[in-house]
Structures are given as structure tokens and as C-alpha cells.
């Protein structure tokens, strides 16, 4: 399962139960993010634990962080999924915004590398 454009690449590695996001995500509005949300939801439906690797996601606009927020709320409401976000302490937005997502889902695990 993969979404790839000139700006970004998103794919699922079943072996590591990880969804990777790379590049610059600057889609215009929440509707444009629906396909990515669908990928995340379909993956998380099959797994008790999911890692989302954002380390190489350099830019994410406001609609993108909104989509991630909604995804976290849906996973939290399911109640039986271990969710892990991998971030980079060299990417400024990841050091700030991911902590707020943890407020939505206190059991969310943040790993910085």
C-alpha cells in the first residue's frame, strides 16, 4: 500500500507494522487528506499495534496535522490499539506538535531520534 507523488511518499510496511511518511505534505484542505486517512484507518483496523514513522516528514500543513489529530481520536476511541509516533528532534514541527497529539490520547507513545 503506497501513495507517492513528487512531494511526498506514504507507505505501509506490514513486517514492521509501520506506516512511513516522507517529504512535504501540503495538501489543500481536509478532503484531500481523506485518502491518507483511509490508508491509516485500513492499516490500524488489522493491527493491535501501529507505528507511524514521521522522521523524514519535513513539512506538514495545518490540514495535515488536523487529519493526524482526527486519526488519533479515532484510534483512542477504539481503545485497543497501541499507537506509536516516531519523530525526529531535528524537525521543528515534530518537537512541538506531536506532544499535543499525546494530550488527545495519553497512551500515545512518542519516540524521538
Amino acid at each position: 500500500m503506497e501513495i507517492k507523488t513528487d512531494d511526498y511518499r506514504i507507505w505501509h510496511d506490514p513486517d514492521s507494522a509501520t506506516v512511513y511518511m516522507q517529504g512535504l505534505l501540503r495538501l489543500d484542505g481536509m478532503e484531500k487528506y481523506q485518502s491518507i486517512m483511509d490508508v491509516l484507518l485500513s492499516v490500524v483496523d488489522q493491527l493491535p499495534s501501529l507505528t507511524i514513522d514521521l522522521r523524514e516528514l519535513e513539512f506538514l500543513n495545518s490540514s495535515g496535522i488536523s487529519m493526524l489529530s482526527m486519526f488519533v481520536v479515532k484510534v483512542r476511541d477504539r481503545g485497543d490499539v497501541n499507537l506509536i509516533f516516531k519523530g525526529s528532534d531535528k524537525v521543528l514541527w515534530q518537537t512541538k506538535s506531536l506532544k499535543n497529539l499525546q494530550r488527545l490520547m495519553p497512551s500515545l507513545v512518542l519516540q524521538y531520534e
Partner: protein, 310 residues
């Protein structure tokens, strides 16, 4: 439900009846007796009617009581049902309120996340733009201004000095026999030499609009706005002295055992009929002369676009 067990006969005044009959026998012969009997009969009749009225009133009251009791019972049952329904509605509302409250909390966090994310992305973009601008104007090897930044700054200062009718000086420096230095010590040593020379040259200017740049290869330039030829010569002499103090060995130099500079200086008051390339041309000419005259020296010229500067 209550019952009325009283019969109409219960209300006859038996005792009073018997007493009246005895009274008649005892007073048979007395005329007043008849009157009394008649009065008593009327009294009996009145009492009977009163008795009947009381019976009816009591029956009515009893029946009314039963009816009211039944109604109360019914209302009580309805109230019990309503209380249960209200309790259920209250529980539903409480659950709904909790869900709405949770959703509200979520939305507040999401809104805050989006706002803070927007701010941090602005900062990130801004840092990126600053970094790119810096890279676009900085020489990668020496970390001083590159040729692009030099051209941009020279044009700006040319325009500014034209407006102010102030002198603009340009120093061009060239490391003497740099090709031979590279051949003797290698290109890595050559890069190191360029870095050291660039650092000391950059240290020799301090005013906000002064700029030292790598002009190309082993050539460096210093733009000095609002500076007379004398001032520019003093800066050039400081540059020469600082490079001399580095004492970078140069075995293949014809003029010294260490790295030296040839320097050309031009100074003029710019005018709108000419361009900044004129100042470069003049400085370059002085640099050429410095090399021709044996290197490791400063040659200068005051140009004639405007009245004499010295």
C-alpha cells in the same frame, strides 16, 4: 376502599320511641298529652328526615372518598412512571453531556494543536528561507560573502553613494602565486590558505555597510562605502599586515617565504551616468599594476567621475 355499613333503620331513635309510648299511657287523660304527642311525632318525622339526609350525605362522602382515593392512586402510579422516565432521561442526558464535553475537549485540543502547528510551521519556513538566503549569498569554502552577494551589495552602495554624493572605495586583493602554492602544498592546503586569508580580511572591516567577499578563485574584494581613498589605503594596509602575521609558508613565492597579497584600490564618488562596473574595472587595473610592479604591494587610484576626493 372504604364501605358504609349503616342502614336506614340504624338511624331510627328506638329509645326515644319507647319513651314516647310510655308517656302517652301515663298521661292518657290529659289534653296536653295529645299536643305533646303530636309535637313528638313531628319531631320524630323531622329526625327521620334528618337521619335520611345524614345517610345520604355520609354515603355521598364515603363514595366521594373512594373516588378521590382511586384518583390519588392513579395519579400516584402515573407519578411513579414519570419519575422513572425522568430518571432514565436524566441518565441519557448525563451520558450525552459527558460525550459532548469529551468531544468539546478534543476539539479544543485539536484547535490548539492546529494553531500552534501553524505557528511552528511559519517559524520552520522562515528558518528555511533564511538558511537558503544565507547559502545563496555565502561562499561555501570561506564562509564569507560570495560573488553574488558582492555584486548585489556593490550595486546597492553605488546607488546609495550616488544619492549621498559620498565616496565609494573598492579593494581587490589577490594571493600572490597561489597556483604555485597549490602545486607545492596541494589543493587541501590551498583551501585552508583561502579560509585563513578570508577570515583575517573579514576581520579588517567592521562598519555595518562594509563588505568583504570572495571575488573569485584566490581573489577577494572589500566594498567600503563613505570611505575616502586614504581610509581605504589604511584598511588595505591592515589587511596586508594581518595576512603577513598568519605566516602561511609559501616556498614557491618570488616575493616572500610566506603568503602575501597584491592589492588594488579605486575610490570615486559614483554618479548615475556610470555603473558600478566602472569601479571594478578601476580596482582591477590597480591590482594588475600591483602585480606588474612586483607583487606584495598596494596600488591605488582616485577616479575622476566626480571632483577630486583627496
Amino acid at each position: 376502599m372504604s364501605k358504609v355499613f349503616l342502614s336506614e333503620e340504624d338511624f331510627f331513635l328506638h329509645g326515644s320511641h319507647k319513651t314516647v309510648r310510655e308517656d302517652i299511657q301515663q298521661t292518657h287523660h290529659e289534653p296536653q298529652l295529645l299536643t305533646e304527642v303530636s309535637r313528638l311525632r313531628e319531631e320524630i318525622e323531622r329526625l327521620r328526615k334528618a337521619n335520611q339526609d345524614l345517610y345520604i350525605a355520609l354515603s355521598t362522602t364515603a363514595e366521594h372518598g373512594d373516588f378521590i382515593e382511586a384518583q390519588l392512586q392513579e395519579v400516584n402510579e402515573q407519578l411513579k412512571v414519570e419519575v422513572e422516565e425522568r430518571k432514565r432521561a436524566e441518565a441519557t442526558l448525563k451520558a450525552l453531556l459527558e460525550a459532548i464535553s469529551k468531544r468539546k475537549d478534543d476539539l479544543e485540543i485539536v484547535v490548539q494543536t492546529i494553531m500552534e502547528h501553524g505557528d511552528v510551521m511559519d517559524t520552520q519556513w522562515s528558518q528555511k528561507v533564511t538558511e537558503i538566503n544565507k547559502l545563496a549569498t555565502l561562499d561555501a569554502l570561506t564562509q564569507i560573502a560570495n560573488r553574488r552577494r558582492f555584486d548585489e551589495h556593490l550595486d546597492q552602495q553605488w546607488a546609495q553613494m550616488t544619492r549621498e554624493r559620498s565616496p565609494l572605495a573598492l579593494i581587490l586583493c589577490d594571493i600572490d602565486h597561489f597556483k604555485q602554492f597549490n602545486d607545492a602544498y596541494g589543493h587541501l592546503a590551498g583551501d585552508d590558505c583561502l579560509q585563513q586569508v578570508a577570515t583575517v580580511l573579514n576581520r579588517c572591516v567592521s562598519r555595518p555597510h562594509d563588505l568583504v567577499a570572495r571575488f573569485g578563485g584566490e581573489e577577494f574584494a572589500a566594498i567600503l562605502p563613505q570611505t575616502s581613498l586614504e581610509g581605504a589605503i589604511r584598511v588595505a594596509e591592515r589587511m596586508q599586515a594581518e595576512v603577513n602575521q598568519l605566516q602561511i609558508p609559501h616556498i614557491d613565492s618570488s616575493v616572500s617565504t610566506a603568503v602575501t597579497l597584491s592589492i588594488g584600490i579605486a575610490c570615486l564618488v559614483p554618479c548615475s551616468q556610470s555603473s558600478s562596473s566602472e569601479l571594478i574595472r578601476l580596482s582591477d587595473r590597480q591590482l594588475y599594476l600591483a602585480k606588474q610592479l612586483g607583487r606584495n604591494q598596494i596600488v591605488f587610484q582616485s577616479a575622476s567621475l566626480q571632483p577630486p576626493l583627496l
